[in-house]
C-alpha cells in the first residue's frame, strides 16, 4: 500500500497480538482438558463421529451384559439338565434290575420306592430357580414353581413361551428352556409308536416295544392285534384293513407291517388283544408314574407276568427316549453356549475398535499439542516484541 495511517498501524499490531494470544490460549485449553475438540465446531465431522461411536460403544457394553446374563442362565440350565440326565440313567439302572426274573414282588416294590425317590428328585430339579428371582423352566409364568406334585401325578403350571435376549445386533438367543419342551414333550415307546397288552388278556404272550423298519412306510394309524386262537389278526383302524399272521411254531412271532416290526413272545390265549398306537407325547413324570405302578403290581400268575413284560418293554423304551431327549436338550444348551462364545469374542473385538476410534477422534495427542504450544508461544512473543519496536519509531523523536 502507498501509505499507512498511524491509526491503522496500531490497529494492525493490536490485531496480530490478539490473534496470536487467542491461538496460544486455545492450545493451552486443549492441553489442560486433554480433549482435541474443545467445542464441536472445531471439527464437526469428528464430533459427530465421536457421538456415533459412543452410542455404538454403549450398545456393545449392553450386549456384553446381556451375554453375561445369558451365559449365567444357560450354564445353570445345562447343569440341571445334566443332573436330570443322571437321574434318568439311575432310573434306567433300576428298571434293568427289575427285569431280573429272579426278583419277587418285594424286591420290585423296593425298586418302586427307589423310583419314587427319583421322581421326587426330578421334580425338585425341574423346579430349579434361576438365581434372578424366577424359575429356570417355567416359561414366562415364573412367579411360581412350574411343576406341582400330587402323589405320583405332576402337573405343569408354566407355559411354553421361551425367553430370549438380544446378545448381538438383531440376534435374539433363547436363554431359557420351557419345562414343557424339556420334560413334557417326550415321545414314549420307541419314539414312533407305543404297544400295549390289554388288561384283560389271559394268555401268556407279551409284546415288545417294537421298532421302525421304514419310516416312510408308517401309516400313522392305530392298530389292534387280536389272537383268535389260531392266528394273529392285525387290523389297521384307519381303514379297517386286516392282515393275518400265523404264529411261529417255536419262538417269538414277528409281525412286520407298514414299516413297523413288533415281536410277540409266548403263547397267547384266544381273545387276547394287543394294541399299537402313534406315539404322541408323554411326560417323563407320567412315564415314571407308569413304571412305579407297574412295579407295585404283584404278579400272581403267568398272565400277569405277560402283562408285566409288555408294560416293562414299553416303559424301558420310553425311559430310553427320555434319556435321549435330555441328552439332546443338553447338547442344545451346549451349542447355545458356544454360539455365545462367538458373540462374546466379536463383541470384544468391536468394543476395542470402537474405543480406539473414539480415542483417535476425541483424545489429544499430547506430543503434538505440546510442540504446537511452543510454536504458538514463540509466535506470540514475536508479535509483542515487534509491536513494541515499531511503536517507538516516530519523526517527532527527532524534531
Amino acid at each position: 500500500m502507498a501509505r499507512i495511517s498511524t491509526l491503522m498501524q496500531y490497529r494492525f499490531g493490536e490485531q496480530q497480538i490478539a490473534g496470536r494470544q487467542r491461538e496460544l490460549l486455545s492450545a493451552q485449553l486443549q492441553l489442560s482438558s486433554g480433549r482435541r475438540i474443545a467445542t464441536p465446531s472445531d471439527d464437526p465431522l469428528g464430533a459427530a463421529d465421536a457421538s456415533t461411536v459412543r452410542s455404538g460403544l454403549s450398545r456393545l457394553v449392553q450386549y456384553k451384559d446381556n451375554q453375561g446374563h445369558a451365559r449365567f442362565l444357560l450354564n445353570q440350565a445345562e447343569t440341571v439338565v445334566s443332573k436330570l440326565g443322571e437321574a434318568v440313567v439311575e432310573t434306567q439302572e433300576r428298571l434293568v434290575a427289575a427285569g431280573n426274573g429272579a426278583y419277587g414282588d418285594q424286591e420290585r416294590r423296593a425298586l418302586a420306592r427307589d423310583l419314587q425317590g427319583l421322581l421326587d428328585r426330578i421334580v425338585g430339579l425341574a423346579n430349579s430357580q434361576d438365581g434372578a428371582g424366577g424359575y429356570l423352566f417355567a416359561g414366562t409364568r415364573d412367579g411360581a414353581a412350574p411343576f406341582v406334585q400330587n402323589g405320583n401325578l405332576v402337573a405343569f403350571r408354566g407355559d411354553g413361551t421361551s425367553q430370549r435376549l438380544e446378545v448381538a445386533n438383531d440376534r435374539l438367543l433363547q436363554v431359557k428352556f420351557s419345562g414343557d419342551d424339556l420334560l413334557l414333550k417326550i415321545r414314549p415307546g420307541n419314539g414312533s409308536f407305543v404297544t400295549a397288552a390289554d388288561a384283560g388278556n389271559t394268555g401268556a404272550a407279551s409284546i415288545d416295544a417294537g421298532a421302525v423298519t421304514s419310516p416312510a412306510a408308517l401309516s400313522g394309524s392305530a392298530y389292534t392285534i387280536d389272537f383268535d386262537g389260531a392266528s394273529y389278526v392285525v387290523t389297521r383302524l384307519a381303514d379297517s384293513a386286516q392282515t393275518v399272521v400265523a404264529p411261529s411254531a417255536s419262538g417269538p412271532t414277528t409281525i412286520e407291517l407298514d414299516g413297523m416290526r413288533v415281536t410277540l413272545n409266548g403263547t397267547a390265549a384266544a381273545g387276547d388283544r394287543f394294541t399299537i398306537a402313534p406315539a404322541g407325547y408323554q411326560s417323563l413324570f407320567d412315564t415314571l408314574g407308569q413304571a412305579i405302578a407297574m412295579l407295585q403290581t404283584p404278579l400272581a400268575d403267568a398272565a400277569a407276568r405277560a402283562r408285566f413284560n409288555s408294560t416293562y418293554a414299553n416303559v424301558l423304551a420310553s425311559v430310553e427316549q427320555a434319556a435321549d431327549h435330555l441328552r439332546l436338550k443338553r447338547a442344545e444348551s451346549g451349542s447355545a453356549l458356544s454360539e455365545l462364545d462367538g458373540y462374546e469374542q466379536v463383541n470384544e473385538e468391536r468394543s476395542l475398535e470402537h474405543e480406539a476410534r473414539r480415542s483417535t477422534v476425541e483424545d489429544l495427542d499430547y506430543a503434538q499439542a505440546a510442540s504446537e504450544l511452543t510454536r504458538r508461544q514463540t509466535a506470540f512473543e514475536a508479535a509483542i516484541r515487534s509491536y513494541s519496536v515499531v511503536s517507538k519509531l516516530s519523526l517527532f523523536n527527532y524534531l
Binding site: R54, E166, G220
Partner: protein, 629 residues
C-alpha cells in the same frame, strides 16, 4: 511598491498559518475514529500586468478539503455490514453448539442410557428394580430434551430482545443522519464545505452499517439518501423512516422487524435487512434456529411415537394394555392473523413417526385448491380436499372453506423436545410382556412348534385380541383357525406368519393332521420379556432419511456443527474483507503522524520565510522614506 511586497508577504503568512492550522488539526485528530485528514489547497493569486510582464500577487488558500474517496467509504460500509452480520450469526450458532457440546451430559448419552435400561428389563422383566430403572432413564432422557428445548427457546427470546435494542439504535442513528443532511445542505448552499459535519455523517452511516446493510446515494444538494441493501428507504433528505417491532401475522407468538414508510409497515426479513447485526440475527432466528429446533423435535417425536406404538402392543404387569409410555406430542398449527375467514381452524397430528421430516409447513388456499408447502425444501402438494396426509403427519382444516388467499402455519415438531414427558409413574404399568401366548398341546402327533407370536399395530380391541382361538391342521399344509366367532382357513408354509384377530403367529416344523395350536391371553406371564425385547430393538428403527434412531442425535449434532463451522469460516472471511476495506479507506484518508510532522516543518519554514518578506518590505519602505530626508 512595498505595499506589493507587504501584501505578498501577508498572503504568504496567512497561507502558511492556515496550512499549519490544518496540519495541527490533523495531528490533534490522528486517533479520532471517522476523521478524514484535511489538506490545505493553495493557489497562486492572479498576476497583474505591470511594466510589460505579469507579476505574481502572492498565494491564496483555495480550499481546505478532506482527502476522501466515496468509493472506498461505501466499500467499507458494505464490508462492515457483512462482517457484523456474519459475526453475529456465528456467535449465536456457537452458543447453540456449546449447548449440545458436552458428550457425557448430553442428549446422546441419555438416549443410550434409556435403551440400556430397556435391555436390562429384558433380562429381568419381573424385577421391580429393573422397571424402576427404566422409568428413571426415560425421565432422565425426556428431561434432557426438555432442557435443550427450553434453552433454545430462551435463545430466541434473547435474540428478540437484542433485535429491539438494535432497532432503537438504528432509529436514533437515522434521525442523526437526517439532521446532519439538513445542516450540510444548508452549509453547501451557502458555498462552504463543512468538513467536520461530513465526517460526522460518515461516522453515523458507518454505525448504521453495523446494524443493517446500507447503500447510499449522494444528492446534488449535498444530502445523502440511505437505503437498506434490499432497497427500502431509511433516510431521504432530512427525514428518516423508523424501524418497528410488529407482531408477525404468520406467527402470533412472535413479532418481527418492520419499516414504517408513510402509513404502511413493510416487513423486514433477513434478505431485506441485507446484513449487519439485525440481518445476522434475523437469519439466525428465521432460518437456523427453526432448523435446529425441528431436527431436535423430529428426534424427540420419533422416539416418543415409536416407543409409544410398541409399548401399546404390550401388556403391563396386571395384564392390561400398555398404553403410551411418553405423552404424545401435539404439533402446533394455526391460521395467520390476517386471514379473510377467521373461522377456519387447522390441527395437526403425527400419524407415522418413522416418516417425519424436520421442517415447518404452510397451507395456502386459493382458487378452491389447498396447497401444502414443506418449508425446508420448498416441495408442494396441491389438492382440493382439506385434509393432508404427508410425511407422517395428518393435517386437517375445519370450518372450511377459508377465504381466498388465506394462509395457515403448521409447526409439527417445534415443541416436541420441550414437551417430551413420561406418561407412566407406576412401575406396574410398564408393558414388558406380550398380550397373547401360543402353545402346542401334548396330544399332537406331528412336530409343529411355535416360533413366535406377536401383536400387529395398531392394537386390536382386547375382547377380540385375547379371545381364545384354536388353529387346527386339516392336513400337513392346510389349517383352519376358529375362535368361536370367526373361522378362517389357509395354507401352511413353514415360517410364514399367520394373522388373525390382531395377532401374528409364526410356526415351524411339519404338522400331522388334527394337530392343534392353542392361542390365548397371556395370563400370569410375569417373566415374559417379548415386548421389552421389541422396545429394545427400536434403536435400529430407521427414520425417514435412513438414519437409525439410536444415531439420530449424532445427525442433529453433525448438521449443527457443520453449520457453525461454515458460519465461522464466513465470519472470518468477512472480517478479513472488512479489515482490508478499512485499511484501504485509511490509506487514503487516515492521518500519518510522521507525514504531518514533516508538513509541520515545511509550513513552519514557509511561515518564517514569509515573515522575512514582511521584514524586508519594512526595510525597503524605511529606505524609501529615508530617501526623502
Amino acid at each position: 511598491m512595498s505595499s506589493g511586497l507587504s501584501s505578498i508577504g501577508t498572503s504568504a503568512l496567512n497561507a502558511a498559518y492556515m496550512a499549519l492550522r490544518t496540519v495541527s488539526n490533523n495531528i490533534a485528530n490522528a486517533n479520532t475514529p471517522g476523521y478524514t485528514r484535511q489538506i490545505t489547497v493553495l493557489r497562486p493569486e492572479v498576476g497583474s500586468f505591470v511594466g510589460g510582464s505579469y507579476i505574481g500577487q502572492g498565494v491564496a488558500v483555495a480550499d481546505v478539503r478532506r482527502v476522501y474517496s466515496e468509493f472506498l467509504t461505501q466499500q467499507a460500509h458494505q464490508a462492515t455490514s457483512q462482517a457484523e452480520g456474519a459475526g453475529t450469526r456465528h456467535t449465536q450458532l456457537q452458543q447453540v453448539t456449546n449447548l449440545f457440546a458436552d458428550p457425557t451430559t448430553g442428549i446422546g448419552t441419555a438416549v443410550d442410557t434409556f435403551f440400556r435400561a430397556v435391555q436390562d428389563l429384558t433380562q429381568r422383566p419381573s424385577d421391580p428394580a429393573a422397571r424402576q430403572a427404566l422409568l428413571s432413564a426415560a425421565r432422565l432422557m425426556s428431561g434432557r430434551f426438555n432442557d435443550v428445548g427450553d434453552r433454545l427457546q430462551e435463545m430466541r427470546i434473547g435474540v428478540d430482545r437484542q433485535l429491539r435494542l438494535e432497532i432503537d439504535t438504528v432509529n436514533q442513528t437515522t434521525k442523526e443522519i437526517a439532521d446532519l443532511n439538513t445542516k450540510i445542505s444548508q452549509a453547501i448552499g451557502a458555498g462552504n464545505t463543512p468538513n467536520d459535519l461530513l465526517d460526522m455523517r460518515d461516522a453515523a452511516i458507518r454505525r448504521l452499517s453495523e446494524s443493517v446493510g446500507v447503500s447510499t446515494v449522494e444528492q446534488i444538494d449535498g444530502a445523502v439518501n440511505v437505503f437498506l441493501s434490499g432497497g427500502k428507504p431509511l433516510v431521504v433528505g432530512g427525514s428518516a423512516n423508523a424501524l418497528s417491532w410488529a407482531p408477525d401475522p404468520l406467527d402470533p407468538k412472535s413479532a418481527n422487524v418492520g419499516l414504517k414508510v408513510g402509513t404502511r409497515v413493510l416487513p423486514i426479513d433477513a434478505a431485506a435487512a441485507g446484513g449487519g447485526r439485525i440481518g445476522g440475527m434475523l437469519q439466525f432466528r428465521e432460518v437456523d434456529l427453526p432448523e435446529i429446533e425441528n431436527q431436535l423435535g423430529r428426534l424427540a417425536a420419533s422416539l416418543t411415537g415409536l416407543a409409544n406404538a410398541q409399548h401399546r402392543l404390550g401388556d403391563d404387569r396386571n395384564g392390561a394394555p400398555g398404553g403410551d409410555l411418553f405423552t404424545p406430542t401435539s404439533g402446533l398449527a394455526f391460521p395467520a392473523s390476517d386471514n379473510g375467514n377467521p373461522a377456519t381452524s387447522i390441527a395437526v397430528t403425527i400419524s407415522d413417526p418413522a416418516k417425519l421430516v424436520a421442517s415447518d409447513y404452510r397451507v395456502d388456499y386459493s382458487g378452491g385448491q389447498y396447497r401444502l408447502t414443506r418449508l425446508a425444501d420448498g416441495a408442494t402438494w396441491t389438492q382440493a380436499a382439506s385434509t393432508f396426509s404427508q410425511d407422517g403427519l395428518t393435517i386437517t382444516l375445519a370450518s372450511t372453506p377459508p377465504a381466498d388467499g388465506d394462509r395457515f402455519v403448521v409447526q409439527p415438531l417445534r415443541n416436541a423436545s420441550r414437551d417430551m414427558a413420561v406418561a407412566i409413574h407406576d412401575i406396574g404399568r410398564v408393558a414388558a410382556a406380550a398380550p397373547v401366548v401360543a402353545s402346542v398341546p401334548v396330544g399332537n402327533a406331528g412336530a409343529v412348534r411355535v416360533e413366535e407370536i406377536s401383536v400387529t399395530s395398531p392394537r386390536t380391541a382386547e375382547a377380540t385380541l385375547k379371545r381364545p382361538a384354536t388353529l387346527t391342521f386339516t392336513g400337513p399344509s392346510s389349517y383352519s383357525i376358529s375362535d368361536g366367532v370367526t373361522t378362517v382357513s389357509g395354507t401352511y408354509t413353514e415360517g410364514q406368519p399367520i394373522d388373525f384377530n390382531g395377532w401374528r403367529l409364526t410356526l415351524r416344523g411339519t404338522p400331522a393332521a388334527n394337530d392343534t395350536v392353542a392361542i390365548g391371553a397371556n395370563v400370569g406371564g410375569v417373566g415374559d420379556n417379548r415386548n421389552a425385547l421389541r422396545l429394545a430393538q427400536l434403536g435400529g428403527a430407521l427414520l425417514a432419511d435412513g438414519t437409525p434412531l439410536s444415531n439420530g442425535f449424532s445427525v442433529v449434532v453433525a448438521t449443527l456443527d457443520s453449520k457453525t463451522r461454515s458460519a465461522e469460516l464466513l465470519s472470518t472471511a468477512q472480517s478479513s474483507i472488512r479489515d482490508s476495506a478499512l485499511a484501504a479507506e485509511s490509506e487514503m484518508g487516515g492521518v500519518n503522524l510522521d507525514e504531518e510532522a514533516s508538513r509541520l516543518m515545511q509550513y513552519q519554514q514557509q511561515y518564517l520565510a514569509a515573515a522575512k518578506i514582511i521584514a524586508t518590505a519594512k526595510v525597503v519602505f524605511d529606505e524609501i522614506l529615508g530617501m526623502g530626508r
